[in-house]
């Protein structure tokens, strides 16, 4: 039986705690008597018969007719699936999306369906490479559909292939992929790694255009989302759910398939990264020492390649299909069962180690803006109830925060860093002053549509993710980061953890309480 997550009160006998630092990690001693560490739960057991479970879900859907009864000869079937941003790290083959898509295709073949399109629902994310598509959907599906142009990627800037479906009572425009909107059935294949994923967000965000996305990806919505991991208190989700209603009213027929994975994140020899420090055996300790020393002498590019080649031994813990909202309720319960850790009370200082990966830099560089979104957008929001850090508290994060960008994947990030952040770090100001210029820039649009670039507006959305966190905290300190880059982000640089605690003391006093998020693997703090 896997052990649940728990909160460790640090005392003098507690060993130093693991902190991620991008493509490396370190051990840091936290002050005894007033620090605590939140450890994630161990991975839940996987389903043994994955294919059987998927088939069962398709034949016995929730609040929906069985999939075979929805399939008929001559129909237009569209299968949309989550893009490269999920799961993290990429899972070992076969990816769960491949297994679900093959199960759907088996039923479609039995029903005599000929007109099938498969679409990567990537919204404003970069297009996936052939290797990434093959990894997600498998060689069989790729070889059968891609050469005929039947497996392709959603293009949020293609006016000919977008369908405007109406507006919500709040005036939010709903525009999604035309093929998906006009199909007799849209099957969405989703991976729910965190509670934020899935539900109407799959279709209303993944297959939407900039015109539609701007209504919920803005500073106001993000500021009112408390948190993204709690659907009922997230304005982002409420907006997506309103859009889902418009989709239904306009006749889009969605069959949602959601899967959850366990948190088995690191394979050998990196398994120790998921273990609690006092349970490290001699081999783990040797591996840690050898790895940190070696990575310290390894060029950053090579270290990145090593880490991005990691394939997680994730296993599927549940699959449910049917009506979007009914399915998502059960999916969220499964995610919470894996990730929720009960924590009593808030803290003065929240510490976190930022790893090498985020949803937006798979096979790429975690640039400074993505460091910000990981800290203030994701880790800060890994709570239900109230934030882990008290209002006016301090966040201390560890990351080298080098001014490095991938010019292929993140071209607009470079200009955002040099131009927009040099002007302002206030999300509201930049959304008024700069967003439109980047969103409608022809060159960024061209790179998004034809290359592997994130949309021109994407760095703004990343910055907006942190809106609530940045307003909530009085200071953000980056340990080990490039000082000039850290200051450009509006954060404070520090050389060591002790220095960071010293810098924080003028805000939170000499004896603040400290809480460390020991993640990855992922967890959500249920703060009571």
């Amino acid at each position: 039986m896997p052990r649940p997550g728990f909160v460790l009160d640090v005392d003098r006998s507690t060993p130093p705690i693991l902190f991620w630092r991008g493509e490396n990690f370190s051990l840091e001693k936290l002050p005894a008597g007033r620090s605590r560490v939140i450890y994630p739960a161990e991975p839940l057991p996987a389903i043994d018969d994955v294919d059987g479970a998927i088939r069962h879900a398709l034949l016995n859907p929730i609040d929906h007719d069985p999939l075979p009864s929805l399939l008929f000869p001559g129909m237009r079937l569209t299968i949309a699936f989550d893009d490269v941003s999920l799961p993290l790290p990429k899972m070992r083959r076969p990816d769960v999306r491949q297994r679900v898509i093959e199960a759907v295709l088996d039923l479609a073949a039995d029903a005599g369906v000929d007109d099938v399109h498969i679409i990567a629902a990537l919204a404003l994310h970069r297009r996936m490479t052939e290797a990434e598509l093959r990894h997600a959907v498998g060689d069989r599906v790729y070889d059968a559909f891609a050469p005929r142009g039947l497996l392709y990627q959603h293009d949020a800037e293609d006016p000919d292939n977008l369908a405007f479906l109406g507006t919500t009572p709040h005036g939010e425009e709903v525009e999604i992929n035309k093929r998906a909107a006009e199909s007799d059935l849209l099957v969405y294949v989703n991976i729910n790694l965190v509670a934020m994923d899935g539900g109407w967000k799959s279709t209303a965000t993944g297959l939407a255009s900039y015109r539609s996305l701007r209504h919920h990806h803005n500073p106001d919505t993000m500021h009112k989302s408390r948190s993204f991991m709690d659907q009922h208190r997230s304005e982002l989700h409420k907006s997506n759910w309103r859009m889902g209603k418009v989709l239904l009213d306009s006749g889009v027929k969605v069959f949602q398939i959601e899967t959850t994975l366990n948190t088995d994140t690191f394979p050998q020899p990196f398994e120790f990264l998921s273990k609690r420090e006092w349970e490290w055996n001699a081999r783990d300790r040797m591996t840690f020492l050898a790895t940190t020393k070696a990575l310290g002498r390894t060029p950053a590019r090579l270290a990145r390649n090593i880490f991005h080649s990691i394939e997680a031994p994730h296993q599927m813990t549940s699959v449910q299909a049917g009506e979007v909202e009914a399915v998502h309720r059960i999916t969220t319960d499964h995610v919470y069962a894996q990730e929720l850790v009960e924590v009593k009370g808030q803290t003065d200082i929240l510490t976190m180690g930022i790893p090498y990966i985020s949803p937006y830099n798979v096979h790429s560089i975690l640039n400074p803006i993505l460091v910000q979104v990981m800290a203030m957008g994701y880790y800060f929001n890994m709570y239900r109830g109230m934030p882990l850090v008290r209002e006016g508290g301090v966040i201390i994060l560890t990351h080298p925060c080098r001014p490095e960008f991938n010019p292929v994947h993140h071209p607009s990030y470079i200009d955002f860093f040099e131009q927009v952040l040099a002007d302002t770090t206030d999300p509201h100001v930049m959304s008024q002053k700069w967003e439109k210029r980047y969103a409608e820039d022809e060159w960024y649009r061209h790179l998004y549509r034809t290359g592997y670039a994130y949309h021109g507006v994407h760095p703004f959305y990343m910055w907006y993710w942190g809106t609530h966190g940045m307003k909530h905290c009085s200071r953000v300190i980056v340990v080990g980061g490039d000082p000039k880059t850290v200051r450009r982000l509006g954060f404070v640089p520090a050389s060591t953890m002790d220095d960071a605690l010293e810098i924080a003391s003028d805000v939170v006093g000499r004896t603040p309480t400290i809480t460390h998020l020991h993640t990855p693997p992922l967890m959500v703090a249920d703060v009571i």
Partner: protein, 340 residues
């Protein structure tokens, strides 16, 4: 001579074959001289009226291969399969292996069950190909059912087959009691099996009807059957070819099958054949086409068209030309139409 536009020079295999001819020329005179000299250079004649006690038959289906599964022989075999055999197969057959992911659920079990692999059979190369293509954890505990009357008719052949491929002798025409008992015992000991349901190599390049041996063994032992389609080995070293010529092969593994509650051996064997047929279609076209044809029962048959003579061979050459294009046709970069 190789054609001027051939992508390779006369192969090493060709040269090796010519060396064999030279050895043959050198040794034949000695053999003839020995035959002229008679006993003791040759075997003795038997005096009339004398009955020679027969040796206990220990070749053919009775050949004992237990020694080939002991640790020393396994270590030697691991070296042979992982080294020279692997290199030779890659050099001659350039195998592309697909569908291994269909076995991933079984592979991650704490105690993966033994499997019965049932490939189609066109060439002796098939066995070597399977020895390197079958994924772990099954590869290291794999036995191959080999024709007792062909591979175990001479002691040196029996030893070589048992040592290098872990072959076990099996009656070709009927699953004899002794063979099936031995296989059942091996599967119960955790050994997986490669068995050719067609019973022998294809005589004309097309497949043959499946016999029920694999289905029968699965029903008796409970081991799942993994259908496998091998494409390309017939053109490399098919039946009747004197020397191999290099080519490309595909090995496609299917999803494991187990007999249904109300399914007899004949029906189960037919289902295995249909699965291999679908894999063959998948190998030559793509997964979606094959799956749709399987749904309405129109996958091209392994046994080829009904007509005989040159038209049958003509159809075979056409099929082979499709097969060599094979899987993983690369998609050309698709640029969206941005207008002007």
């Amino acid at each position: 001579m190789a054609r001027d536009d051939a992508p390779w020079k006369p192969s090493a295999l060709g040269r090796l074959s010519r060396v064999g001819d030279v050895v043959d020329r050198v040794t034949t005179p000695f053999a003839r001289r020995a035959a002229r000299r008679g006993f003791p250079w040759t075997a003795p004649t038997v005096p009339r009226g004398v009955e020679v006690p027969r040796d206990e038959p220990d070749l053919g289906a009775d050949y004992d291969t237990d020694w080939a599964r002991r640790s020393l022989a396994r270590s030697v075999r691991r070296g042979i399969v992982g080294g020279p055999l692997h290199l030779a197969v890659r050099g001659v057959a350039s195998p592309n292996v697909h569908g291994v992911d269909r076995l991933s659920d079984l592979a991650r079990l704490d105690d993966p069950p033994p499997l019965i692999f049932t490939p189609n059979h066109h060439s002796h190369l098939d066995t070597a190909l399977m020895a390197i293509a079958v994924p772990e954890p099954w590869r290291s505990k794999l036995v191959v059912a080999a024709a007792a009357d062909y591979f175990f008719d001479k002691r040196w052949k029996a030893r070589l087959a048992a040592l290098s491929l872990n072959a076990i002798p099996i009656d070709r025409e009927a699953t004899g009691r002794k063979s099936s008992e031995m296989i059942k015992r091996l599967i119960e000991d955790g050994w997986s099996l490669v068995i050719y349901p067609e019973g022998g190599r294809s005589p004309d390049g097309w497949g043959q009807d499946f016999k029920g041996g694999a289905a029968y063994l699965s029903s008796r032992t409970g081991a799942p059957v993994v259908p496998v389609f091998i494409d390309g080995t017939g053109a490399i070293y098919g039946k009747g070819m004197k020397r191999p010529k290099r080519g490309v092969t595909n090995v496609v593994f299917g999803a494991p099958l187990t007999p249904l509650d109300d399914e007899n051996t004949r029906r189960f064997s037919a289902r295995i054949e249909r699965s291999v047929t679908t894999l063959a279609d998948e190998s030559l076209t793509d997964y979606w086409t094959a799956r749709r044809r399987a749904a309405d029962g129109t996958n091209p048959r392994l046994t080829g068209p009904d007509y005989v003579g040159w038209r049958r061979q003509w159809a075979l050459s056409e099929r082979r030309s499709i097969g060599s294009a094979g899987l993983r046709r690369r998609q050309k970069r698709r640029w969206p139409d941005l207008g002007n």
